[in-house]
């Protein structure tokens, strides 16, 4: 009997060691082929210029041509992320604390924007923010502006409005999911010691859902940095965002070297966020700190 068991163990022992690797193979190969290979390929090509290799020529050229756009991208990403977090958090806290029908309605309505593609948002924003578009007409009717010299929105203003229109509900969605699971007793305990709503939000709710805020911020930052459609449709003057420059270099000049250098810059911009997110979130979720 004993020898029979050991025989089975011997025969199946090798298979049981191989099985996890076999199960992992599709996912790992997917990541290797579709993510890591293009990443390394573009990084290598960014250091290649004809026969010269390796070289910083692409980076020097990218910096010389697109310095303003690079700084503009950083500015839009930081400002857009910050405003998305502040407004998304405010919307989520309102929905969590108020629990009124109005709050629920506003919250549900805002969710619709999450499911709209950026190209639709861009088109809507173009009509809404045009020199004689809806917003300028309303402001003119309110005598805030003269329609003969309307506010120009096809620059950082319009771009930020477009990003906020899409990203605020997204941040609110992520944050509210966490807020919903905060036990009501924590809030009541705060109220019992004299906390008003603003104290509850700032001292209890926000610290308790900090991981969700970080997730929302990281994802929003990465989305803004990598979105092409919105800056392409909404920014008609210089500077614009790096993604538009990449498309421009490839479409009109077939200059993959500079395009890849700009791409590496975007990776570098998003990488610290991703690393921070992975280190902190994975640690907290698995080990509870």
């Amino acid at each position: 009997m004993r020898s029979g068991r050991s025989e089975v163990k011997r025969r199946w022992g090798g298979a049981s060691k191989l099985l996890p690797l076999l199960l992992l193979f599709p996912a790992v190969s997917f990541v290797l082929v579709l993510y890591l290979y293009p990443l390394f390929s573009s990084v290598i090509r960014s250091f290649t210029l004809g026969a010269q290799s390796p070289t910083f020529a692409n980076y020097l050229k990218a910096w010389a041509l697109y310095k303003k756009d690079i700084l503009f991208t950083v500015e839009v990403a930081l400002l857009g992320t910050f405003l998305s977090i502040v407004l998304g958090l405010a919307l989520a806290c309102y929905a969590r604390i108020s629990r009124s029908r109005a709050a629920r309605f506003v919250n549900s309505l805002s969710r619709l924007t999450i499911f709209l593609p950026y190209v639709i948002v861009g088109q809507m924003m173009r009509s809404f923010l045009a020199p004689h578009g809806f917003l300028n007409v309303i402001l003119a009717n309110m005598k805030v502006i003269d329609l003969n010299s309307p506010i120009q929105f096809f620059n950082i203003r319009g771009l930020l409005l477009g990003f906020l229109w899409k990203e605020v509900p997204f941040v609110s969605f992520i944050v509210l999911s966490s807020l919903q699971v905060v036990d009501e007793r924590y809030l009541e305990a705060a109220r019992s010691v004299g906390a008003k709503t603003r104290h509850i939000v700032l001292s209890i709710l926000i610290p308790m859902i900090k991981p969700a805020i970080i997730v929302g911020g990281v994802l929003t930052f990465c989305t803004i940095v990598s979105t092409f459609t919105l800056p392409y449709m909404l920014v008609t003057e210089s500077p614009t965002m790096v993604t538009v420059d990449i498309a421009h270099r490839v479409t009109y000049f077939r200059d993959y070297g500079v395009a890849n250098a700009l791409g590496v810059f975007l990776y570098l911009l998003a990488a610290p966020m991703a690393i921070y997110y992975l280190r902190r979130m994975v640690g907290e979720e698995i080990y509870g700190y």
């Binding site: 109220r191 906390a195 008003k196």
Partner: protein, 358 residues
Amino acid sequence: MPQVKLFDVTKRYGKVTAVDRLSLIIEDQEMVTFLGPSGCGKTTTLRCIAGFVVPDAGHIFIGDQDVTNIPPERRDIGFVFQNFALWPHMTVYQNLAFGLRLRKLPKREIKERVHDALALVRMTGLEDRFPRQLSGGQQQRVALARALVLRPRVLLLDEPLSNLDAKLREEMRFEIRELQRQLQITAVYVTHDQAEALVLSDRIVVLNHGRIEQIGTPQEIYQRPASQFVASFIGLCSFMEAHVVESSAERVLMRTEDGLVIETMSKGLSLGQAVTLALRPEFIDVSWTKPENSQNVFQAQLVRFAYLGENLDCWLKVGKWDVRVHLPASRVQKLDQQLWVRLNPEKIIVIPTEGVLL
């Protein structure tokens, strides 16, 4: 410390009336316990006092102030929650200091008061720990300290011991009672644990279906329950339905429907009146041979028992009635054993029921 007064407080959730025209005065420095089964309205009433729930009708006063529509943050109460509700991102010190900081007290005073409150609950030295680094008992003490550090007008406790193990629960009962006496604070305590209520309270308010069944000291509630519900909820009790067949200055005789004639000492009952006789196990004498004095003595049969350690919890059949008694484990030999029970006339609780049998 002030009185807490409730006048006709009513709270409905849809068609369910959680609290039904409840009126009560809790005296200064008194510890009152709301006791009752789940859904009886005890926690809702407590939350009305705290301000977490606004009653649909009625008024609540703390001292002379009508607080019915005042939000909890302006009521000056201390609240201890069932799950402690310590903020997990704050240390013990920060948990206690939070309310003091909101009151904009000087840093030195905050430090002193936090230190004093922690000393009161014997938690000095654990200021820098986070709640997750504390045991259940320690968290409970911190929750208590957090409620007390503000020196509230009223202390409200919502089943604060129910998440602790039995041994710790027993210890903490005495500690909470001692603290309440020491601080001379008006306190309202909610529990469904009768032992907790008996140990902790100056008075117990027994609630059922949102209404007060009885208010009284622990002794009154235990010895003279006003209804079968109260008798069954507090302590162990067996019941017999009977009616009065003789009522004189010397004695009152009751007859059960299966013909047992039982003498009691209750007064003010009329002939034919229907009553419920409530029998506490400790007031039933059990013997293995027929006693010489046959007053209130009945034959019984052991039908079931459960092991409690030193004693057995025994179910006896007396006539058609189930009567529970506690007997020494060494004396019980087998099921269906024939025994004799004597019901002490002075200790039989007689609860008049509606209707008169003529």
